[in-house]
């Protein structure tokens, strides 16, 4: 029984050598024939199409404001909104609101990540626990987290703790469920491979199951972030005052109190833009890289 994977000590006669070389050449030839070059060209449509769509919608909106709306204060056009946003940015309110909300959103999301990931792993590893708690987690994912706001205000008062609690309740179930569905969709073949290769339970989990579950986990994180951001806005609109800082939700609420439609629309757009920016700058590149490395993004429409 050879203990080394090399050919040393092998019964190999001189006459076999040319045959081996022929085989090597044959295989090399076949390999290069089957090695299809992958075209990597930058698709201009990927940028131009969405930008064009947005510009088109803005133009329609402006035309509607000019010719279709008798009440500028109820239906401001994009130029007017831009002006108001400029004013809000100039007096620092917009920057403060975006900064406060973004900081809370990210911190709350990271908290949810830190709590949801180990919990998800635990549930994935202990079937009994999962059977017990799994449905509850799915239920929490369906429950709009804004429902927690009154309870949070009673418990924590008008403090940042209220905001973080609501964000946490919104995001954690999505992260747990994403991780679980990632683990569930690991091909059984990979687990068998782990057994065959002699992996221990922990090694199998760390080296095979978790990397295989990564795409599902990332999808869960993406949804978790979306839930964080939504829950945060809901909490900020309802819970104003006290020691709670001034976020985008507060700006929205202030616009409503002042009956300033342009301010309300500015806040809505700011919330939308932050959401899109996080998607484009954080999740999209992560996801693309992950999928491309696994050869899964070749025909994707983005």
């Amino acid at each position: 029984m050879p203990t080394s994977p090399t050919l040393s000590g092998a019964p190999r006669t001189q006459s076999q050598a040319p045959e081996t070389d022929t085989l090597r050449e044959l295989e090399a030839g076949l390999d290069s024939l089957q090695d299809a070059p992958v075209a990597t060209r930058i698709n201009a449509g990927r940028i131009l199409l969405p930008v064009g769509t947005v510009l088109g919608l803005l133009s329609l909106w402006q035309l509607a404001a000019w010719f279709g709306s008798p009440r500028e204060d109820l239906f401001p056009g994009p130029l007017q909104v831009l002006g108001t946003a400029g004013e809000l940015a100039a007096d620092g309110r917009l920057g403060e609101a975006v900064g406060t909300s973004l900081q809370r959103g990210v911190l709350g999301f990271l908290l949810a990540l830190a709590i949801g990931t180990p919990l998800g792993l635990l549930l994935a590893g202990v079937p009994t626990l999962r059977r017990g708690i799994g449905p509850l987690i799915s239920g929490l994912q369906v429950l709009p987290s804004v429902a927690w706001v009154p309870a949070a205000i009673i418990w924590f008062g008008l403090t940042d703790a209220t905001v973080y609690f609501v964000v946490l309740m919104g995001a954690t179930p999505s992260i747990i469920n994403g991780l679980l569905s990632g683990v569930d969709t690991v091909p059984p073949q990979y687990r068998r491979l782990g057994t065959v290769l002699g992996a221990s339970r922990l090694q199998g989990l760390l080296r095979i199951v978790l990397p295989a579950a990564l795409p599902g986990y990332l999808a869960g994180l993406k949804q978790g972030w979306a839930f964080s951001w939504r829950s945060l806005m809901a909490a900020e609109i309802i819970a104003v005052g006290g020691s709670i800082g001034f976020g985008l939700g507060s700006l929205l609420q202030q616009g409503r109190d002042l009956s300033q439609m342009a301010m309300v629309v500015s806040a809505i757009l700011a919330i939308l833009i932050v959401g899109i920016a996080i998607e484009l700058l954080v999740f999209s590149p992560l996801e693309r890289r992950l999928l491309r490395r696994r050869g899964l993004a070749a025909g994707a429409s983005r």
Binding site: M1, P2, T3, P5, T6, L7, A10, P11, R12, Q16, E19, T20, L23, R24, L26, E27, A28, L30, D31, Q34, D35, V38, Q189, Y190, R192, L193, T195, V196, L197, G198, A199, Q203, R207, I208, P211, A212, L214, R293, R294, G295, L296
Partner: protein, 240 residues
Amino acid sequence: MSILIEKLSKDYGGAPVLSSISTSIAQGEFVAVLGASGCGKSTLLNIVAGLEPPTAGAVTVPAGGAAFMFQDAALLPWLTARANIELALQLRGVPRAQRKDQAQQLLELVHLGDAGSKRPHELSGGMRQRASLARALGQDKPVLLMDEPFAALDAITRDLLHEELERIWLAQRRTVLFVTHNVREAVRLGQRVLLLSSRPGRLAAQWDIDPLVRTDPAAQAALTQEITQALREEIRHHAH
């Protein structure tokens, strides 16, 4: 003696899948297990690999255990070809410092020396199976179990991989248990061919392949014909 199978039976609660199979495989022997779909030949391999327990009977394998090669290459898509092999080395307990060199040696053994940094999706089907073979060899077990490893390949690639496998087997003389539904493949590679009947899988017949047959196309064709007839006979039993 390398593998000893004694009165092995398997069922999943219903009809038996394998029924009282007994055979022994010598150290360094290349045995091809032939059978139609559903004859339980993959189940047999899984039991020998220790992936499933037998319902009755016993299987004895050498202390080192068995390496396994799957029908689809089962390379992990997030690792390069080299890292896939290194993972097998790591799980076997090879120290970190030696893994890279050994992985490269294994890649060169299957003529993939330059493709180590490619990911599975960048390799052709034949290259993936060669990487998978290199990983199985990297497990360095006395027994190599192969579950229709070339079934999904085109004929040209399959022929080359037959030569490749034969070359490596001649050099290393591991015990190989090779499951296939392809009679030509069984005759081409095996020293012995076992024919399993279907539902339940029983040992229906076996042939020792004279090494001279391999160099004589006429004799090879005749034997292939004979085994094919026997296989068809087995399949025809299920018509009624």
